[in-house]
């Protein structure tokens, strides 16, 4: 594990993340880690008290975590949303669009390559939880 990359200004949340089952049982946990197959919607009643949600990517091609992130942000979650596991530099831009704002990749990312990838596209075709205006909105105001 390498140091997490964060796109947030608040302090790193120190409490260790517990499993989904644990957080559903345990009313005081503020950090949770969900696995790729787990239902992010189960967390919706708890969003007010969660400060960190980590979503694991067992392999980069398993895209369930993108939907998990969108669901959490659509529901108004404002805390840290961290992608962990097989997180590669070429997927970071899409993860950002789906609401991830922190990354804990298994292997280190080259920050220069990452910055370039994040700046590359200056427009987007569809609305997501990152709130960027889609191209159709730019066309029609």
């Amino acid at each position: 594990m390498v140091e997490a990359i964060r796109f947030r200004d608040d302090d790193v949340h120190e409490e260790p993340a517990v499993s989904l089952d644990a957080v559903l049982d345990q009313s005081n946990a503020t950090a949770v880690r969900i696995e790729a197959g787990e239902d992010a919607r189960l967390l919706l009643p708890l969003l007010d008290r969660l400060a960190l949600i980590e979503v694991d990517f067992p392999v980069f091609g398993d895209g369930r975590g993108y939907s998990a992130a969108q669901i959490l942000r659509e529901a108004g979650y404002k805390g840290e949303l961290r992608a962990s596991g097989d997180v590669l530099v070429d997927q970071i831009a899409y993860m950002r669009r789906c609401g991830f704002d922190a990354f804990a990749p298994d292997a280190p990312l080259d920050p220069k390559v990452m910055d370039k990838a994040l700046e590359l596209y200056d427009a987007v075709y569809q609305g997501t939880t990152d709130s960027r205006a889609p191209i159709w909105k730019l066309r029609h105001g």
Binding site: D39, F60, G61, D62, G63, R64, Y66, S67, A68, Q70, E74, L88, D90, Q91, A93, Y94, M95, R97, C98, V113, K116, A117, L120, Y121, D122, A123, V124, Y125, Q126, G127, T128, P134, I135, W136, K137, L138, R139, H140
Partner: protein
């Protein structure tokens, strides 16, 4: 035709730059092949048996003369002087060098084309009716809807790592010329209470487990199209199987959950999605629709045709289709010459088709899912001149929808997945049935050949289908009967034990002979098969 604005152009230009960088990192060893693979696949670049194959997107199969000419240029400059039009209305080049790929994408971008998402587990190029905007029977042009979907699905961050590839087709008439119900999502535009909207079919597909997509919603309004599609995709992305790639397509999810349960989950997601502001306003559909307005047809063009040249008459009978505008016809250029490779065209032929489109068809061409090219808007008085030029270039086989107008996948000649060759078999069948009189006697007969169970040659949907398999190290061909990709969608059934290459051609003749014997009145092959049943055909083949 749709034209890029500054935003669309910037997106494809950016993609070229991005891929150039990724190729450089790969060539420098900074990316492993495993890491590079999903990136190149998102740009349509496959590693085949002998070389890289590049698949270029032709959105909903529509292109201009200038774009077509660029396809010829790429064939000449970067490949072996030909290209291969595919069953998803795209074109593939089979002999591409990795280091050339960024330049090819740059050439494509210069004519508003790309190879974005032509492979990979993402939403693929949107396909449509090849006669869109010209067909007499359509209720509206489906292409503006397909373009809305193209833009929405391009670089979609949530749906780029789906369980498996995802194909969408849009049609707008009751006759289905796009195999709509054999797509992951099939959309048919319909009117309801005077309003244009979309009927959704989800979970169709071919491959190892062919399924006909059930209807899951009878009407989605234009201004909710995207949120409904998002709902369909999100349920799939979350719950589609990822444990087994052969069970990962949405058809398996819909089948395992059942249509009702899948629909219920989609509706629940849709109720939520509708509130998120995901849908472009109707003004965006209107903006796009303007690009697909009718060309300047001559209002008093004549329907008269001089058919005194018998070869021309044959071609007109077989390869032209009724146009919505009096005095015009839809002309289909068959890429199935006798003994040829289905869907292949040389750069010279591609250039010629580009010229002819500019000269005779308001600068438009279409690619069909049966691997032919369409000139959608030809004045009837120009047909003879057009036919003469096509004929000179070997582009006037009068065999549209006849037995030699077959679909074939690349097969073992190119594809690393194949078990058997498809192309040589298609060529031999084309020779055996070369006599046009005989073909016309057999009438409409859709022959489709796949070189493995992945079914890229659509054998499940053939009136006659052929599936190549490997039997103890030798190529073996199974014969299937009774499929259809049209509005009467059905899946073909295997007749019985397989055959050698020559054996399967003999079996096809046995089958067509029986059809001629049994047919009543105007029955097509498929009609006779459906009436008579498999048993009689089995009996004729196997005794």
């Amino acid at each position: 035709m749709y034209q890029y604005d500054k935003y669309d152009q910037k997106m494809v230009d950016t993609r070229v730059a991005e891929f150039r960088d990724q190729v450089e990192r790969r060539l420098a060893g900074e990316l492993t092949e495993d890491q590079f693979k999903p990136l190149r696949l998102m740009n349509g670049l496959y590693l085949q048996l002998h070389a890289y194959m590049l698949r270029v997107a032709i959105p909903y199969g529509t292109l201009s003369g200038k774009q077509m000419r660029m396809l010829g240029h790429i064939a000449r400059k970067y490949d072996r002087d030909y290209g291969h039009f595919t069953t998803r209305q795209n074109i593939q080049y089979n002999w591409i060098k990795l280091e050339d790929a960024p330049d090819i994408l740059a050439d494509l971008a210069s004519v508003e084309m790309h190879a974005i998402q032509t492979s990979g587990n993402c939403i693929r190029n949107i396909s449509s009716d090849q006669y869109a905007g010209a067909a007499a029977d359509e209720i509206s042009d489906p292409r503006p809807w397909a373009e809305i979907l193209r833009q929405w699905s391009s670089f979609h961050p949530e749906f780029s790592y789906l369980p498996r590839k995802f194909k969408i087709a849009v049609i707008a008439s009751d006759e289905d010329r796009a195999a709509m119900r054999l797509h992951d999502i099939g959309i048919q535009l319909i009117h309801k209470d005077g309003e244009l909207g979309a009927k959704f079919f989800v979970g169709g597909g071919m491959g190892r487990t062919p399924m006909i997509g059930p209807e899951i919603r009878d009407f989605v309004p234009a201004d909710e199209l995207i949120s409904y599609a998002e709902a369909c995709l999100r349920v799939y992305n979350r719950y589609g199987r990822r444990d087994n790639k052969y069970k990962a397509r949405i058809k398996i999810l819909v089948h395992e959950l059942g249509k009702e349960e899948y629909t219920r989950q989609v509706e629940e997601e849709f109720a939520h999605m509708k509130t998120l502001g995901l849908n472009p306003p109707v003004e965006e559909l209107a903006r796009i629709s303007e690009y697909f307005a009718d060309p300047a047809f001559e209002p008093d063009a004549s329907d008269d045709l001089d058919l005194s040249d018998p070869d021309f008459k044959l071609w007109v009978d077989q390869n032209t289709v009724e146009h919505k505008q009096a005095g015009y016809a839809i002309a289909v250029i068959s890429l199935k010459p006798q003994g040829g490779i289905p869907g292949d065209a040389s750069s010279a032929q591609i250039d010629l088709m580009a010229d002819l489109a500019e000269q005779y068809s308001f600068d438009e061409l279409r690619v069909t899912h049966s691997q032919n090219i369409v000139l959608p808007h030809v004045k009837k008085s120009d047909l003879y001149a057009l036919w003469q030029k096509l004929d000179e270039a070997g582009l006037a086989p009068a065999n549209l929808d006849l037995i030699t107008d077959s679909i074939a996948c690349p097969g073992l000649d190119y594809c690393s997945l194949a078990n058997a060759r498809s192309i040589p078999l298609a060529q031999k069948i084309s020779e055996r049935f070369a006599d046009l009189g005989r073909q016309r006697e057999l009438g409409e007969l859709k022959l489709k050949i796949s070189g493995c169970i992945n079914a890229c040659g659509h054998h499940h949907a053939g009136h006659i289908g052929i599936l190549g398999v490997d039997r103890k190290g030798t190529e073996n061909y199974q014969l299937l009967l009774g499929g259809s990709a049209a509005e009467d969608t059905s899946l073909a059934k295997i007749t019985g034990p397989g055959f050698s290459e020559d054996g399967v051609i003999d079996a096809i003749e046995t089958v067509t002979d029986l059809y001629l014997k049994e047919r009543q009145e105007d029955e097509r092959f498929i009609d006779t098969y459906r009436r008579v049943g498999m048993a009689a055909f089995k009996e004729a083949i196997y005794g």
